[in-house]
């Protein structure tokens, strides 16, 4: 039997094996830690403001001339989760079509941002809204009334898209 032992206990010096100085060192570290600034965000009072790159709830852009959407249906086609339903209608204006019905099922949406990427009119963008709570399945299907958001609230995202898309 010629076994060389190299256990942790043998590698340690006498003072380390006593543990007490090391424990005191550990205690001093945790004590200092107690007075450091805390990371916790007091959520309902202190909210997080996401950056422009954040992909939250998809919304429809509402600019000065009204909604931008021309109801081409590309977003609906590209949506991998089949969350978007668009029904087009005719208008008298230059933009000839508009969505009669535009619904996003938030229970299906996976926040991939494909709809935004494919949109030729920059009419559907991802917002910063991350507080998505619904009391039943019906209210999770958002219609135009809930989707249209004034353009000035979406400036960060539009800027981000212009720069990186």
């Amino acid at each position: 039997m010629n076994v060389t032992q190299n256990t942790e206990a043998q590698r340690m010096s006498f003072w380390e094996r006593l543990y007490i100085p090391e424990i005191v060192r550990g205690l001093s570290i945790t004590l200092r830690q107690m007075f450091k600034p805390k990371f916790t965000r007091q959520y309902p009072e202190e909210r997080w403001e996401p950056l422009g790159s954040y992909r939250g709830r998809p919304v429809l852009v509402l600019d000065e001339d009204g909604e931008r959407c021309v109801a081409c249906g590309l977003c609906s086609r590209v949506c991998p989760a089949l969350a978007i339903e668009v029904q087009a209608g005719e208008t008298e204006r230059d933009k000839e079509r508009y969505p009669v019905k535009f619904e996003i099922n938030m229970l299906r949406c996976i926040y991939c941002g494909f709809c935004e990427e494919v949109c030729p009119e920059e009419a559907i963008v991802m917002s910063k809204d991350y507080e998505l709570v619904f009391e039943d399945r019906e209210s999770a299907i958002l219609d135009k009334e809930h989707l249209l958001v004034p353009i000035h609230q979406l400036q960060d995202r539009l800027e981000f898209l212009r720069r990186y898309k």
Partner: protein, 351 residues
């Protein structure tokens, strides 16, 4: 026998105050523990219930009361019910002999502060009662009829028996120096020099052993969450679990009080033992008693903080490490400590 009736009445009043104070302290300690743990981990901790979250313990206790009290179908119902009662009874009865202040003179009569004052075996009583506390945990583990509970109970009994030896032997040094087992006398003798000066090794051993005795980290193997689910209280819910919880924290308070009493001079102010006299507090007055209680409780609070502080610093021992430390390091050291104390006392007394 009006004399006896009066004594019983006084003891009952004192017991009522002590039990309520202890339960309140134990519940508040849970809040303190959570808060300190949070600070050490760069978090804020409970701060929603009441100002600074101070009402959190009450919310916790109310929640525990309204929880379903579940007893497993395979459990031994009688012992399952008995176990938490043993734990909490033992934990609370320990306070009977601990003096937190000197006696008060009311109507020409000296009224000691503790419930059962001047028991000449006060220290032995405490050691005996803490050993009884094991029964609560072992019974809980066994009667739950659950492997994790049983393992937790087994570990705890092995651990407590191992560390009780060290605990008792480390106290012996103090007893040899003081020459008495009466806690109030031991405090009285520490007026000028605290026992920790005479017994630094004894204090260290007592500190480590009482961490193990109260099942606190780094010796909290009986309830090691990653391996044993909840340990001996896996199958307990509602206020039965709450009783174990309160007993654990109450034991912490006792251990801290014992450290203060035995090693850190009880109610004596450090460096200026005559401070209360300078402040004009008369011997036996209520003001003096309150002052002494405040001193004792401040020192106790420091040791309670130490308990919590260590829990969030030192990782848990492995079972074999625990046993090796107990039997091969602490026990011989305790014996050496007694030997040294005896030799020094002999030399000093011979002169």
């Amino acid at each position: 026998m009006p004399e006896l009736a009066a004594q019983v009445l006084i003891a009952l009043i004192k017991a009522f105050i002590v039990v309520n104070a202890v339960l309140l302290a134990a519940a508040s300690l849970v809040y303190v523990e959570r808060r300190v743990a949070a600070w050490i981990q760069d978090r804020i901790g409970p701060n929603r219930v009441g100002p600074f979250g101070l009402l959190q313990p009450f919310a916790d206790v109310i929640k525990l009361y309204f929880k379903e009290d579940l007893v497993p179908a395979v459990a031994d119902r009688a012992y399952h019910r008995l176990a938490p009662l043993i734990s909490i009874t033992v934990a609370l009865s320990l306070y009977a002999v601990i003096p937190i202040a000197d006696a008060v003179v009311i109507g020409g009569e000296r009224v000691p502060i503790s419930v059962a004052p001047h028991i000449n075996v006060g220290l032995l009583y405490i050691l005996a009662m803490t050993s009884l506390g094991v029964y609560g945990i072992v019974l809980a583990g066994w009667s739950s009829n659950n492997k994790y509970s049983l393992l937790g109970g087994l570990r705890s009994s092995a651990q407590m028996i191992s560390y009780e030896l060290t605990l008792g032997l480390s106290i012996l040094g103090v007893v040899m120096v003081a020459g008495t087992l009466d806690l109030a006398d031991i405090i009285a003798r520490q007026k000028h020099v605290w026992n920790v000066v005479y017994q630094p090794l004894g204090f260290l051993l007592f500190l480590v052993a009482s961490f193990a005795e109260t099942n606190r980290a780094p010796f909290d193997l009986p309830e090691a969450e990653p391996e044993l689910v909840g340990g001996y209280h896996t199958e307990y819910s509602g206020m039965k679990f709450g009783l174990f919880f309160l007993a654990e924290y109450s034991n912490m308070v006792v251990a801290s009080l014992m450290m203060v009493t035995l090693f850190f001079g009880g109610w004596h102010v450090p460096f200026v033992p005559d401070l209360p006299q300078w402040l004009g507090l008369r011997e036996g007055s209520l003001g003096l008693a309150l002052f002494q209680a405040a001193v004792t409780l401040t020192k106790t609070a420091f040791f309670l903080f130490l308990f919590i502080w260590v829990r969030w610093t030192v990782p848990r021992f492995r079972y074999d490490q625990l046993m090796r430390l107990g039997w091969r390091t602490l026990l011989p050291l305790a014996l050496v400590n007694i030997l040294l104390t005896g030799v020094v006392l002999l030399v000093v007394n011979a002169r």
